[in-house]
Symmetry: C2
Subunit: 251 residues, 2 copies
DNA sequence: ACAAAAGTGTTGAGAGTACACCCATGC
DNA sequence: GCATGGGTGTACTCTCAACACTTTTGT
């Protein structure tokens, strides 16, 4: 417990000589708001989904997993995450944030692998018809109907979902999941689907948008045809301060 | 970009054969609320401080750094963080949370070191008079008057401070920094010092404590002598739900 | 009596919520 | 006209913040 300056030096030097290092991987939870398959009964047209990869090799062969890979020696963690994201979806320039680092010694049965996880928000209109390509089995899954997942990926996904929900409550993150232009109903449905809370009041929701950050959304002149009266299209106002004046919650 | 199942397998297998792995370290930002040195002019008696270690070896020899060390092959990240914390302060069973993982390729000039950072909250009454021991130069520094720091530790510390402040706003984290029993003024000063906001209203602060989680603090019968009327001592009510009914901030 | 610090009550502005209502389009 | 969905207005409640006030101790 006690250690002199020299001992600290020795300890560090020893560590640098030692070859026993864990592997470091990045795993990226990729969220998108996609059209809900017609067989599911739900009032909303959209669904919150994640991209999963079916493992072709043991361990957990045949099970679904969050896309990821090892960190190169010369790339930053963010770069590694963006590389993985591009490899799986082809998209770049998306919203990406580090989530948590998982490091239980036995989370990978082969060797010690420490996983730095990220989550990404991709709007559906930027995705190609089917992510990636040919033989790699990648597929979108509703977060409300997930298959069993490999490793500790269920825990990771759960955590990502929790974080996404918090993020939505004090940040303009929802816009990253919507196309450039959207109707206010679409925005509201995004909130309701992600927060799994289907009882937001239309009028109050709109009033908040007007006030909160003063002009969070701005109307384009255009409209979208719907069943009834056409809905005006809005876009997110980048210039809005959006500093969500952190109201203190506690105490 | 395109990859078959076989290629994925090969890529993974290659990674496991390869010996080129980064080192993984944990660094722990240790916060405590300590008596403010008398030479600093500030209305509060307490100060938010962090424990720093003076480096005895290059690189950055002689500069101050956040305490940390390498992760053992058989310990989890949390275990490694608690081990470091115990080595530096002697305390166990403290509040500890993972912060962020820093991984720029050149953040350590020697080799690739990925740092998983944590922050800890330790109440001053649990600390021994001087942390650690003899020759290891460890010292508490006010977060409002920090020396230049080694590596990217200034960035880490900044981030830790930001997170601590957010944590305080929707969580009962402040109690981790106070002794078992405290006066309401001490609690309020803790908030004001940490949030660097010295204008909370006494009456309103107390009213919130009464309501918010319904009984966040409970009075002990005891009192503390102060300059004027004695102040009642309170303690945190562990049983209070404290689920800070997440009021939506946005939109 | 006075200073110092603990502790309380009152009030007005703004935010949140519920709910009812009007408007534009297609058939 | 009527169904469908878009888009307000109103009124009640609760929270928040400011500020003035009362109480209890030591000197």
């Amino acid at each position: 417990m006690a250690s002199t300056i020299q001992e600290v030096h020795d300890e560090e030097a020893h560590q640098f000589r030692s070859r026993e290092h864990p592997s470091v991987a990045v795993d990226v939870v990729i969220f998108s708001l996609r059209e809900r398959p017609p067989d599911v009964d739900h009032p909303a047209d959209v669904d919150l989904q994640v991209l999963l990869i079916r493992r072709g090799a043991p361990p957990f062969k045949g099970m679904w997993a969050i896309p990821g890979g090892f960190v190169g020696m010369c790339e930053s963690l963010d770069e590694a995450a963006r590389r993985e994201l591009a490899e799986e979806t082809g998209v770049t320039n998306v919203w990406l944030e580090q989530l948590y680092t998982f490091g239980l010694p036995d989370r990978d049965p082969r060797t010690r692998v420490i996983s730095v996880t990220y989550y990404a928000l991709v709007s559906a209109d930027r995705l190609s018809p089917l992510a990636g390509s040919d033989a790699t089995e990648a597929a979108w899954h509703s977060v409300y109907a997930l298959p069993p997942l490999a490793f500790d990926h269920a825990k990771i996904l759960n955590y990502a979902l929790t974080r996404l929900r918090y993020k939505l409550e004090y940040t303009a993150a929802a816009f990253e999941l919507l196309p450039e232009e959207f109707t206010l109903r679409e925005l509201q449905e995004a909130y309701m689907v992600i927060l799994d809370d289907y009882k937001l009041d239309k009028a109050n929701f709109r009033k908040k948008l007007q006030r909160e950050g003063q002009e969070v959304v701005v109307p384009t002149g255009r409209f979208r045809e719907t069943g009834g009266r056409p809905a005006e299209l809005y876009r997110f106002d980048e210039t809005s301060k959006l500093e969500v004046k952190a109201r203190r919650l506690f105490p």
